[in-house]
Symmetry: C2
Subunit: 177 residues, 2 copies
Amino acid sequence: MPTSEMLSASLEDYLEAIFHLVSDKQAARSKDISRLLKVNVSSVTGALQVLAQKNLVNYSPYEVVTLTEKGEQAARDVVRRHRALRDFFVKVLAVEEGIADKGACRIEHTIPREILERFVEFVDFIEKSPVPGANCVHEFKKYCGHEKKTSHNSRTSVKRKPGLRKQKEKTRDNNSK
Amino acid sequence: MPTSEMLSASLEDYLEAIFHLVSDKQAARSKDISRLLKVNVSSVTGALQVLAQKNLVNYSPYEVVTLTEKGEQAARDVVRRHRALRDFFVKVLAVEEGIADKGACRIEHTIPREILERFVEFVDFIEKSPVPGANCVHEFKKYCGHEKKTSHNSRTSVKRKPGLRKQKEKTRDNNSK
DNA sequence: GTTAAAAGTTAGTCGCGACTAATAATGTAC
DNA sequence: GTACATTATTAGTCGCGACTAACTTTTAAC
């Protein structure tokens, strides 16, 4: 992984969005990318130019976008990170889907490889060895039920209004394995 | 947590560094902050001015830095996030100390509260209920031993040499120009 | 107390990645 | 095929957070 071809978090987001759009429809349109990422269309154009120049997307002005071989590899890698994180959050930590997805979105760009792989292994472990594994998670879920006396500082539990929010939503990606 | 007083990842890093320096010695000097964060001293000055203006540090030019009440609260919160992550990585995922710390550094700024709390709870769970909990982690560690044939994409399996890492050290000190 | 080194500050630049406003190409009705 | 709506692009700006180079203040040695 030469430093030269490292992608910024932002470019990875674009790649990921394009990947999903290409999966759904045949190709990605700037408008759709823009809607998905909640970003101005002009920002999309800029990103596409950079990605094209890095040989990650097939792009010419006013045309529809697809991934190059290299781009697809990179995108798949991002998506894999995303799914690994989300899976872990949902399956092991029993985090609510939406939050899990949001967390994955944020963390996917910075998590060290070594830790990511441990997340993957842990989920595999849980799923493959039902006896001690599933039991553990099951126990944890029960444990989560009891509100605990917090020992650390003040922070009380998070309050959110279910309906409206201005957070970046980014709920693309519905499917795993 | 009003959006108005949200801190950037970078400012959180400064606060964290200052916190540690103040804990060790009585106060933080720009030089030390700069060394800790691997950043130019002039960047530190800039950050201190911003933090001072946000009422998070006590700072006047050429003087030593301490945290305000508000700054200490904020710093403690960052440190708590950092520790929670590192603990989880080490205690549950059996990640090597150095990597765990690096990962915590990166993730601490973006992880959603809800997930962070689950990490904390999971570690508590493991430590408080040794019977099913510790067993689970113990089993996982054994499981980690066996290299497994990976089912997902090409990425070769994680090969870890316990001693040496040659990872890039921090995202910050990238060479430009 | 003068002076040199060390520490800190300022000014100016750069890259990134968002934005708006204006413009251009494309697509669709009629 | 003209005329309008939609979509995409360009040009220019902004904020952030790093950097270097030049300057100032503080400190330590003599």
